[in-house]
Symmetry: C2
Subunit: 349 residues, 2 copies
């Protein structure tokens, strides 16, 4: 980590927007995608940050992702919609879908928008948090490429399929849960494999479905779901509500972001709940504050004060907005290379 | 288990309806509550079955639960509603709420109904499965009395807060996930405590928030959530979406079913998703069948074929419908005693 170079948010933002517009996105779409990537970098989920620009553009150049498709609402009811992303960027589809879900919830109390034929959309929390400023609860799920084996099997079929929920507070910071259904992110195992370290039991299974501490065996096997059959079941449910409900894919058919043999067939679901249709939103937010304070005042199990879901990420975001986002020289070089190909004159940092 | 007496479903149903109508419920409400309790017994969740009749009626007699309150929809939007259960039975409120959510989803694509001032509602899957026959996905959450400590603390504050999702299939049986956010049910720890056995590490924490194998220490401490901060976060989110959104309680205030110091302050949320507003329902169900068959055909990790969420419960239900529900003589005696107090002439079995 010591060799990481801190890059200011403003500089990275300018660079990413310049690159994406040169690549062919509208200024607005480039800003949306950039905001999502920076949100991930700021919140400490670097695997879903600007490093993804290379793979996104790589997919477009390989002809397996569309940069500017005409996304279309194919089916619509008063509180629901099905958006066809037409193999465009997940961030653009996701922002449209979440906005539509909130518009529907404004009138109907709840809005649910599903997205078919999409791609990697970055971090789920990015969309869930869009509900906060409208006094709504945001709930987002997505499927992903195979990583978790259905319980009792040894073949990864469902993704780490995350679930994000954002709940607004008054004076306190919002509660933002963004969790995968696997025990840890696959990136942690990749890192252990690279540096040749063992991984703890409980993280992953080998190709025989047996617990392993060997990072390389784990990468060939599958990720351990949280709570055994519970996490594996949750991952399956999320896949069915995304892939099968939208008609995009059957379980096991989502392609990894590095697999350029065809469209990724990713799909998502966005739900907005309009708090004001249940309780006075100010009262609600005061009550969330009260709950947060109640939890913060509990005796600690570890010596350090307890963190609410999303709190560590908000702290990190504040720090990184002040000090810059640490990027490895390798990532910076890759991005600069990519930029040069598109005639981008901005430099990173 | 050998001393359990198998009781036929028909006999238990007749007994429970007789008892509940004598206690003061309408015939229809008695049938609803009975159907929920039997569903739990049939599916192997005996802790939520007819054994609960004693505690439900006990709460009514203690004056902390209402048998026949006038439940009222307090707020309503095209796709959402807030139902005040007025401290009545959770099963009655839940059935009304799920039916209303489905009616709303029929028109709006999705329906979301929250229930305030409710009580223990039995198993969440019972309501989620009501969506199946209407070609909908049912999603149900509820809060419960404190059992899980917010991550980093040692004080149980949130419940085991279950989540149930039911998804219809065509020729195959539906997929029904019904999971608590704790690693195991508290009943398993209670059983170990009674028979003096150690519990595995990973099930529970002692009052210092440290992992324990001592069942008695575990019962005084808290239940281990699935995936550490993930399960604990999910449990908190479910509490906020139930207790705080409905204005019923702040986190930590739901009373245990045996605590007769006041109303339990339980609350729930019911969501119905109308499949036909996204994709042809027959196509959807065929695709769910295809996914089920794909999973069933995977190589097994254990030697036995993999089970889909809910499959073990459906198998058990078929067996128990044929062979009867095994009840302990103690539970039968308690129920007969209760029945005599109300002048019920039916016997169990």
């Amino acid at each position: 980590m010591n060799d990481r170079i801190p890059v200011s948010v403003a500089s990275l933002e300018k660079f990413s927007i310049a690159l994406l517009t040169k690549a062919g996105l509208s200024r607005q779409d480039a800003a949306t995608v950039t905001e999502s990537l920076l949100s991930a970098d700021l919140r400490g989920i670097g695997s879903h940050g600007v490093v993804r620009l290379t793979s996104y553009i790589g997919r477009v150049r390989a002809g397996v992702m569309e940069l500017n498709p005409s996304m279309e609402v194919e089916r619509e009811s008063p509180a629901s919609a099905l958006l066809n992303a037409r193999n465009g960027l997940g961030q653009i589809a996701g922002s449209k879908a979440m906005a539509l879900a909130m518009d529907k919830a404004e009138v109907c109390g709840v809005g649910l928008v599903s997205v078919k034929n999409s791609n990697h959309f970055g971090i789920a929390a990015f969309f869930a948090m869009q509900a906060l400023k409208r006094n709504m609860v945001g709930l987002v799920i997505t499927n992903a490429s195979p990583a978790i084996a259905p319980y009792g099997t040894k073949t990864p079929l469902t993704g780490t399929n995350p679930l994000a929920v954002a709940i607004p507070a008054a004076a306190e910071r919002p509660i933002v849960l963004d969790m995968s259904t696997s025990v840890v992110a696959r990136g942690k195992i990749r890192l252990a494999s690279v540096i040749g370290e063992a991984i703890p039991l409980g993280w992953a299974l080998d190709t025989d479905g047996k617990p392993t501490q060997d990072a390389k065996a784990a990468l060939k096997g599958s990720m351990e779901p949280i709570g055994g059959p519970k996490g594996s079941g949750l991952s399956l449910i999320i896949d069915l509500l995304c892939g099968v409900l939208t008609g995009t894919s059957l379980t096991g058919e989502v392609k990894n972001v590095t697999d350029t043999s065809g469209p990724s067939k990713t799909s998502h679901m966005f739900i907005a709940i309009n708090i004001g249709k249940f309780i006075d939103p100010e009262q609600f937010k005061q009550n969330i504050d009260a709950v947060i304070r109640r939890i913060k005042s509990l005796p600690s199990a570890s010596g350090s004060p307890p963190y609410l879901p999303g709190e560590i990420e908000f702290n990190l975001e504040a720090k990184r907005r002040a000090e810059g986002i640490p990027l490895s020289p390798k990532v910076i070089a890759e991005l600069q290379d990519l930029a040069r190909k598109y005639g981008v004159t901005e430099n990173i940092g």
